[in-house]
């Protein structure tokens, strides 16, 4: 073997490096920069960024079926295991008592899902086939695990851009929502104070809620059962009060480990060949539209409830009717509080926000059921 034959072998990594790889590695460095130095959703963007970096090192073999990223993808994403494990943790962190105390907030959680169907129509108009359009629409659920769950079933080829759009816009909610809130509500509406004087929720009700909801949603929308049941399992661990260790594990170890592997596996699908195309650009744009439509629909519905209630409901809580728990609820409360430091609508906003979380899961399940029958 002479040296001229050996040289290409030694430099094979560099020789196979493409311009596309360079672009994607730059993108991965931006994600890592945002996570490390701006602390924007670091728990997600850091692993996604690093996974993307690995996916664009030529010939490393990590994303091949037998490489670590390939194994993680096949085991955790293809099977939908990671989003479901994450939901156990999310469920253990959610407090449904503000929603149970004010059941009418459910309506806002439904209104906040308009973005899903609005975006689906737009995606079809842009030429996406129904299965892809539905997966893009679910970005409007504003819930990472739900988006990944639905996209994996309907259009796995679009998983990377959908996951990246869902998670990056979620981190931009504090920038996307407040201008819309101020644009669509009047100062008088934002100043509306809401009393929070519900009867206390009993331990029995709190414990029965996740069980009953799993049964009701499961029987009505079977396709939503995996998501809703894991969410409710996590919640049951927490509210039952008898498995404190499991509840803590769900809120920490289970969700942390799953999020790390989910982020890495999703990031590793962002190879230049799969990610750098016009569809990715369109999906990013549609994702932004989905977030805006959700917020607008929620606010308009909030305004309707405001009028119907005789100006007793602050329409800002409508903007919390999306998923993105608990960020959206806090933002609505903060916007009202910024307007008047004596106005606290946090409990109402959180009621709408938890309703939005449930609404997005159910909407995702309904969409899954309809679209898998149609395609």
């Amino acid at each position: 073997m002479n040296l001229t034959e050996l040289l290409p072998e030694l430099l094979k990594g560099l020789l196979n490096f493409t311009l596309g790889n360079a672009v994607m590695i730059t993108a991965s460095l931006v994600l890592i920069y945002l996570a490390v130095f701006k602390e924007i959703e670091p728990v997600l963007l850091l692993p996604i960024g690093f996974g993307c970096l690995l996916a664009n090192i030529p010939l490393a073999g990590m994303t091949a079926a037998e490489g670590i990223m390939g194994v993680l993808y096949d085991a955790g994403i293809k099977t939908e295991l990671f989003p479901l494990l994450i939901f156990i943790g999310v469920g253990a962190m959610i407090d449904f008592s503000p929603l149970l105390a004010q059941p009418r907030m459910v309506l806002l959680g439904a209104a906040g899902q308009f973005g899903i169907f609005g975006t689906l129509m737009l995606a079809i108009a842009l030429g996406f086939p129904l299965n892809q359009a539905a997966s893009i629409g679910v970005i409007g659920a504003i819930d990472g695990p739900t988006s990944i769950f639905v996209a994996t079933k309907l259009a796995p080829e679009l998983l990377a851009p959908i996951a990246v759009a869902a998670y990056s816009y979620m981190s931009l909610i504090p920038i996307i929502q407040p201008p819309l809130m101020r644009l669509l509500t009047t100062k008088k509406e934002r100043l509306i104070q809401m009393d929070y004087a519900p009867k206390p929720i009993s331990q029995k009700t709190l414990t029965l809620f996740p069980i009953v909801l799993t049964l009701v949603v499961g029987l009505l929308v079977p396709d939503a059962t995996p998501l809703i049941s894991m969410l409710m399992l996590g919640n049951l661990l927490k509210v039952s009060g008898v498995v404190d260790r499991l509840s803590k594990a769900a809120q920490n170890e289970i969700i942390n480990v799953s999020t790390l592997f989910l982020g890495l596996a999703i990031g590793a699908t962002m190879s230049a060949a799969a990610f750098l195309n016009w569809d990715t650009g369109k999906i990013m744009l549609l994702g932004l539209i989905a977030f805006v439509l959700d917020t607008v629909a929620g606010l308009l519905f909030g305004k309707l409830m405001c009028v119907l209630s005789g100006y007793k409901i602050n329409p800002l809580i409508g903007a919390a009717g999306i998923s993105a728990f608990p960020m959206a609820g806090r933002l609505a409360a903060k916007t009202a509080n910024d307007e008047d430091p004596h106005n606290f609508i946090l409990m109402h906003a959180m009621g709408a926000n938890t309703a939005g979380q449930l609404g997005s899961v159910i909407a995702g399940g309904v969409l899954l059921a309809i679209v898998s029958k149609l395609v």
Binding site: D95, H342, M347
Partner: protein, 140 residues
């Protein structure tokens, strides 16, 4: 006595009844404010709540001035856990000053006084769970 005060390039005419009275009663653009100046003006620089006070006091006074004249207690505007307490009995506070921070749904909420006055009783402690409308402090 009338004073001209310029804040951020806008001039206001402030009418003060008696500059030596405490609280100082000041009228700006038809609104009445009660102001208690700090004993040592240099200290003001180190107190964040004092620095940001002016606009918040104003937004409060726009709506509540008349209504809260006779309110002699402050209640919790939302249920949660008191995580910080900034006042004690005997403190003289201003409208808009932060009294407690209540944590609810993992969010810290600064509860500000709706009136100025001297606090006679503090009815809550750090780490206490408070219900909606539970009395936090009483004024003299």
């Amino acid at each position: 006595m009338k004073y001209s005060v310029t804040i951020k390039d806008k001039s206001y005419i402030v009418e003060i009844e008696d500059i030596n009275a405490r609280p100082v009663i000041a009228c700006v653009e038809g609104q009445r404010f009660e102001v208690i100046p700090a004993a040592n003006p240099a200290e003001c620089e180190n107190k964040p709540e004092v620095k940001t006070r002016t606009p918040e006091v104003k937004s409060f006074d726009l709506r509540n001035n008349a209504a809260n004249k006779n309110v002699n207690e402050m209640t919790a505007p939302l249920p949660g856990v008191v995580i910080e307490l900034f006042v004690k009995a005997g403190d003289v506070i201003e409208a808009g000053q932060v009294i407690v921070i209540i944590e609810a749904m993992k969010m810290k909420n600064s509860i500000r006084s709706t009136r100025a006055g001297k606090i006679s009783d503090v009815l809550t402690n750090v780490n206490q769970t408070v219900a909606h409308k539970q009395v936090l402090v009483r004024f003299e």
